[in-house]
Structures are given as structure tokens and as C-alpha cells.
Symmetry: C2
Subunit: 140 residues, 2 copies
Amino acid sequence: MFRLDDRLAADTVVLGRFPLSLLLLMNDARFPWCILVPRREGVTEIHRLGADDRAALLAESCRLAERMQAAFGADKMNVAALGNVVPQLHLHHVARFRGDAAWPHPVWGRGPAVPYAPEALAAARRTVAEGLGGGFEAAS
Amino acid sequence: MFRLDDRLAADTVVLGRFPLSLLLLMNDARFPWCILVPRREGVTEIHRLGADDRAALLAESCRLAERMQAAFGADKMNVAALGNVVPQLHLHHVARFRGDAAWPHPVWGRGPAVPYAPEALAAARRTVAEGLGGGFEAAS
């Protein structure tokens, strides 16, 4: 049975779910940063997913990236499946801006996360989740 | 008309082409590291590709990742579209090993590349390209 990895759960807030994937928001106010986690037990690589799940993940990823880039006005989206620390398959989506706290480097390993204040978290949640479509169901 | 970005061209060796993408090998002997570049002019984000190109990129990426993981015996594949420095859409595929020169961090920004010796380059080329399939045509 699928169960979200403990470290991912600790570092993020659940925004809701697509047909295949959980949608998480990294609790780091420095970057608009979302993570898709396909709800499939024991899968660590995209190429290990079946054909239908691969296509669903791609569709969910593109919808999320398009929404994030438009809603935050990002200069560039960074999309990555790394998993060296947390093997459970998860796909990062980070909205990047020229001059942000890590630019032009990737965001991983750039110092400790800065947790959201409650109002900023609520705003980020709304910005990502509203109008996402694609079968997305927001967490209550 | 599609033209490979100058910096990508300088940092890599062309291994060949899939139906959609050029397949490049990063000239850095520290990591088995390939890059797919969809041959589409002016595209900087996966979500800007049309539906057929998205599906083709996913198929080529999965075939490459599967081949690299099997051929190099990698512990983990890192697959990422970043593009903060080179905006032309390109998808990194890095075979990672516990204890490699950057583990468990991502490979970007981990010091200068170590160019391959000629024999090692030929071996890496063979290892990646042989039996890749999926419509791949090796560069001569």
C-alpha cells in the first residue's frame, strides 16, 4: 500500500491529489516549490512506472509546471526527479527567478528551509491549487 | 531552425539522435551523464512542447534512463530539466552511485568537469549507445 515517505511528509504540506500523484508544497518560503509523488508503492524511478502511469505523471507535471510558471511569473521552471536522499519517486517543480536565493544554481543543498508564515502559506496554497484542473482535488 | 546551444555543444559529445532528441554525453568522467535535447527551436520548458513531442521525450528519457541504470549498475538515476544557465530545453540523466564524487548531492556546481581520456570516452559511448533502440541512430 502506498504511504508517503516520512521525510517528505515532514518537509512539506499536502495541497491535494491528482488522479495519480499527491501534490505537496515544500515548506520553504524562499522558493515556490511543489512536489508530485505518484501513489504507487515501492517505485523509485520514472522508468519503472507502467505506461499509463508514466503518461499520467507527465500530464500532471506539465499542468503543474504551467500553472506555477503563470501564477508566480517564474523566469524558469526546474523539474527534477533526484531521490538520492529519499528514494520514493517524487518529482520536484521549482519556480525560479533571476536573483532568487540560489540563482542560477539548483535549489538543493542551499542552506536551511525558511518555513512559511501562516498567511504566506495560505496564499501559496491558493496560488498553486486554484484553477489547477486536471482532476486535481484540493486537500481540505 | 533547431541549432544546439553553443555551451551544450562545448561541454558534451554528440552520441546520436532519437526521433525527437539529440543524445549528448557530458564530457565529465566523474559521472555517467547524458543529456537529451529535443530538436525544437525556441522551446525552454517541457510543458511548452506539443502533446506528441511530450510523449516522445518521455519515451526517449525512460529508454535512456533504463539503459544507463542497467549498463552502469547505478544506484539511482537523477533526471532533471533545469535550464537556469542554458535556457534551451535539455533533460539531464545522471547515473548516481553511493559514494560518487557528489553523493548524495546533485551533480551541478560540484567543481570542474574531468574530461574523459580517449579510451574511456569510447567505452562510455559504447556502453550508452549499444542496444539503446527506440529509433536511436548513433553518430558516426
